[in-house]
């Protein structure tokens, strides 16, 4: 009896541990293209230049923040996680994910702020602040070259479904969903630009239009503004669900943070 229960438990665990890659794909692997593939050669080479990539300024700031003690407990990220190069390798590829303690979906920004409030006794960084962008980019940078691979089963399932719904929801005065551009028409021209597949693997990224670093949510807001839809506030659950769907949709793409985008 006990053995049978153990076998069931193992089977359940195996199901839970089933990576997203085993699921059906949104875009066939052979057609999957990172946002950098839609850039001109100049921006692509800027992204790949570890010195000239302007996002590296934020990475350097993030490296300093990593070992800067903060909060009532006078702890830094490094106090627990030590060297980010080893401890954070591959971590960003699994976000957004369910936070075991609260059962809520969090992205990398949210996870960092949970660490600050729970473990360091520090104030969370404001969304889209220079500090949060820097530390998020620094953590994500440690996973450069690691393929995105998020869990969409179990507690994440409802978020994933909501994310897909949000992806396909027509919005704004243009009455367009994400899918209308990034699924049905990628590779075609929109004025002077080529429509990308809309993947999140370069974020936080340095965007030429912004002339600065920005989060994935800022990018989503830019798309919402583009179709003349209402922009939700930063950190909204709807963004998180959508981020999870986007990460699944891009599964297998390598993390490029800090990406350089148009």
């Amino acid at each position: 009896m006990r053995r049978a229960a153990a076998a069931v438990a193992t089977a359940v665990l195996a199901l839970l541990a089933l990576p997203a890659a085993a699921q059906q794909r949104a875009i066939p692997l052979s057609e999957l293209m990172s946002g950098s593939a839609f850039l001109g050669a100049d921006l692509r080479s800027l992204q790949n230049d570890d010195f000239a990539n302007p996002g590296m300024l934020w990475i350097e700031r993030g490296a300093k923040l990593w070992s800067e003690p903060a909060g009532t407990k006078k702890q830094s990220c490094a106090s627990c996680h030590e060297d980010a190069k080893t401890s954070m390798r591959g971590v960003a590829a699994g976000y957004p994910r369910i936070d075991a303690e609260s059962g809520r979906l969090v992205n990398l920004e949210g996870r960092i702020n949970l660490c600050r409030t729970r473990r360091m006794g520090a104030e969370p960084f404001k969304y889209e602040s220079e500090e949060l962008l820097a530390i998020t980019a620094y953590v994500a940078r440690q996973s450069r070259g690691v393929p995105l691979n998020v869990f969409i089963d179990g507690a994440a399932k409802s978020h994933f479904d909501a994310g897909e719904k949000a992806y396909r929801l027509r919005r704004g005065q243009m009455n367009l969903s994400c899918a209308h551009c990034h699924e049905a028409n990628w590779g075609k021209r929109l004025l002077s630009e080529t429509i990308s597949q809309g993947h999140p693997n370069g974020y936080p990224a340095y965007r030429m239009e912004w002339q600065t670093m920005g989060s994935l949510e800022r990018r989503l807001r830019a798309c919402l503004s583009g179709v003349r839809a209402e922009m939700l506030p930063y950190g909204s659950p709807e963004y998180l669900d959508l981020e999870l769907y986007l990460a699944w949709r891009a599964q297998g793409l390598l993390i490029e943070t800090p990406g350089v985008r148009r």
Partner: protein, 105 residues
């Protein structure tokens, strides 16, 4: 003002040395308006100078129209071992500098 500088630590006499510099700066053009329509005051790096062993080898007068976080790449010829000093100043009078020694053999 955060900045990154890349200069070879050592080189041979007479060799061409590549100097790369990336400065974190908004390079506010002075033509943009904020959310309520007020003109945002111009704030760009106006002068950038590079001295090598005390002698100016490169100078740039920057202005509106140069992107934020400017990246500069220029060259000089290695004479003797010495310090490379980069200095810049913006419209608000904020100054930045970076220095690095070059060893010439």
């Amino acid at each position: 003002m955060a900045a990154r500088i890349q200069v070879p630590a050592s080189t041979k006499r007479g060799e061409v040395v590549e100097i790369r510099l990336l400065i974190q700066h908004p390079m506010e053009t002075g033509y943009r308006r904020d959310d309520v329509g007020h003109l945002i005051k111009r704030n760009v790096i106006t002068l950038l100078s590079c001295r090598y062993d005390g002698v100016e080898v490169f100078r740039a007068d920057l202005s509106s129209g140069i992107a934020a976080n400017p990246y500069l790449q220029f060259y000089t010829v290695a004479g003797k071992s010495g310090e490379l000093e980069l200095y810049w100043i913006d419209d608000e009078g904020k100054q930045g500098s970076e220095r690095q020694a070059i060893k010439v053999t």
